[in-house]
């Protein structure tokens, strides 16, 4: 009986914190980082994504259980692997908003094609990164 109640409680708790991988309204589905320490979702404020326009993103960082993280140090890099070049600008996180959401400004893409954005994250769970592929 006790095990049953515990199991039920855990399910309830998991529901309260949010399912890992579930989408939050306005952001895409949360994806796990390379070593699984974080879940990352994002939304550009340019919809649809287009070339040659400065725009910003919101990045949402949670731990593996879906708990929003407020103190993450985030660095962004990337480029087009096929063309062997990086990003045309130096985007960076300029503000923490709320609920694990960070404002990433200075994003721009200057060519159509396959891009990768590499997000390095350091917070309480540790150091990890995620590669976000995008096609313009």
């Amino acid at each position: 009986m006790k095990a049953w109640v515990c199991a039920l409680f855990l399910c309830f708790a998991a529901g309260a914190f949010g399912q890992p991988g579930a989408a939050v309204l306005g952001l895409g589905a949360a994806q796990p980082s390379a070593s699984g320490l974080y879940l990352v979702s994002f939304a550009p404020n340019l919809e649809p994504l287009a070339i040659n326009q400065m725009h910003s993103w919101v990045l949402r960082i949670t731990d593996a259980q879906g708990v929003a993280l407020a103190d993450a140090a985030i660095e962004v890099s990337g480029g087009m692997p096929a063309h062997d070049h990086g990003l045309p600008t130096a985007p960076r996180v300029t503000a923490y908003l709320d609920d694990g959401q960070y404002l990433l400004e200075g994003m721009k893409f200057h060519m159509a094609g396959a891009w990768e954005l590499v997000v390095d994250i350091q917070a309480a769970p540790g150091k990890d990164f995620i590669v976000l592929p995008l096609t313009l």
Partner: protein, 404 residues
């Protein structure tokens, strides 16, 4: 039959084949239909009316009609120079797509750079080949005070505006009372170049044969992907279509020459040799630092930008890989703006295309382009396509001549 007859027949056959090949190269076969992705790409390159101008938050009079008028007068005024002979129009001639037909500009002395076309310059967040200015108005300040271009000084220019009745009147309507000089020199100088930039924002690319072709593809509906042009567009035939196909495909031009201006306004090292006798240009690697430290930039005290968002400047990339990277120019209205590249190193379009085909090693830095291995007939088709990007400016003709 005799051996001689066979030889004659073989000779005739060879001649027939040669003529056939020559004919085929000059007259490409009816083209393949465009794929949906290609149609989307073509649409992204086309304009019938110029796209909306980006805002110029650093210049409060950027779109003011009186500033355009004042800027127009200033642009053609040779008194804005040390010797009274050099105006902006000296190197940016309206009959030559606002360039001067020279490898390097000639102001009061021989310059270091090829005059860039001003047509559509308002769309670029950065100015100059090395991107050392982040706005049109701050760019205009530079040649005026350059000892080899106009050879003037802000003191001289402020005096000129204050002492000329027409300039003074227009200035005071736009900016309020003329401050006393010399204390107000900076203020008058900055306001003057902001008016010049307001005029330059009027210089916009107009519809070309390519744009009409792209429109005809769209008008005929997405179900019809036959690329054959309508009979009315005589200047866009099968050769030009073949060139367009190369441009967005095998030749990879669209990597940098994209969007309706055919330019991403970014900085690329494409292995262009330095001008003869000149040291290699460091390009954007140096230019970005000049822009970041420019007192006339978006974040500076002379910029009108409230709250100073200035994203291009704040998030500008630096780095050694920008060595010898120069700004992608627009491919619209190329004919009449030769020679090409930052010191006019390549004299004709054919030279430019050969350069990209070879993709030589860069003298400094790293050439981003790879050899294309296109054959001569393909280069000719590319050139034929590039020539369809020429058209009258979408600018009223009164702005294209000196004011009365």
């Amino acid at each position: 039959m005799a051996a001689g007859v066979w030889r004659n027949l073989a000779g005739l056959a060879a001649l027939a084949i040669a003529l056939g090949v020559a004919y085929a190269l000059h007259h490409p076969a009816p083209p393949e239909p465009w794929r949906p992705a290609e149609l989307q790409t073509i649409r992204s390159l086309a304009l019938d009316t110029p796209p909306p101008l980006p805002e110029a938050p650093g210049n409060a009079v950027a779109d003011h009609p009186l500033a355009q008028r004042l800027g127009h007068r200033l642009f053609f005024d040779a008194r804005l120079s040390a010797n009274g002979l050099v105006s902006c129009a000296t190197c940016h001639q309206s009959t030559r797509r606002f360039t001067d037909g020279l490898p390097r500009a000639v102001g009061v002395a021989l310059g270091n750079r090829n005059s860039m076309s001003l047509v559509g310059a308002a769309y670029s967040p950065w100015q100059f080949w090395d991107g050392r200015k982040d706005s049109l108005w701050s760019q205009a300040a530079s040649p005026l005070e350059s000892p080899i271009e106009h050879g003037a000084s802000r003191t001289q220019l402020a005096r000129l505006v204050a002492d000329d009745a027409d300039y003074r009147r227009l200035y005071q309507v736009l900016f309020g009372a003329m401050p006393p000089l010399p204390q107000g020199t900076d203020e008058v100088f900055v306001n003057t170049v902001k008016a010049i930039a307001a005029y330059e924002r009027l210089l916009l690319p107009g519809e070309t044969p390519f744009d009409r072709y792209a429109k005809s593809l769209q008008d005929s509906g997405s179900s019809s992907s036959t690329p054959s042009p309508p009979p009315a567009e005589a200047s866009f035939g099968h050769r030009e279509i073949a060139g367009l196909r190369l441009f967005i495909g095998k030749a990879q031009c669209i990597n940098c020459h994209n969007g309706p201006l055919f330019a991403n306004h970014e900085f690329h090292n494409t292995g262009v040799l330095p001008a003869p006798g000149a040291l290699p240009s460091k390009g954007r690697a140096e230019g970005v630092h000049l822009a970041l430290n420019d007192p006339l930039n978006c974040l500076g005290p002379h910029s009108d930008a409230a709250r100073k968002p200035c994203p291009e400047l704040r998030f500008a990339r630096t780095g050694d890989d920008l060595v010898a990277a120069h700004k992608t120019p627009s491919l619209r209205n190329l004919a009449g703006s030769e020679p090409y590249m930052h010191a006019g190193q390549l004299g004709t379009l054919a030279d430019v295309l050969r350069h990209y085909n070879r993709a030589p090693n860069a003298v400094i830095g790293h050439n981003e382009a790879k050899p294309l291995n296109l054959l001569p007939y393909e280069l000719k088709r590319l050139e034929a396509f590039l020539r369809t990007l020429d058209g009258p400016l979408a600018t009223e003709s009164e702005w294209l001549v000196a004011p009365e």
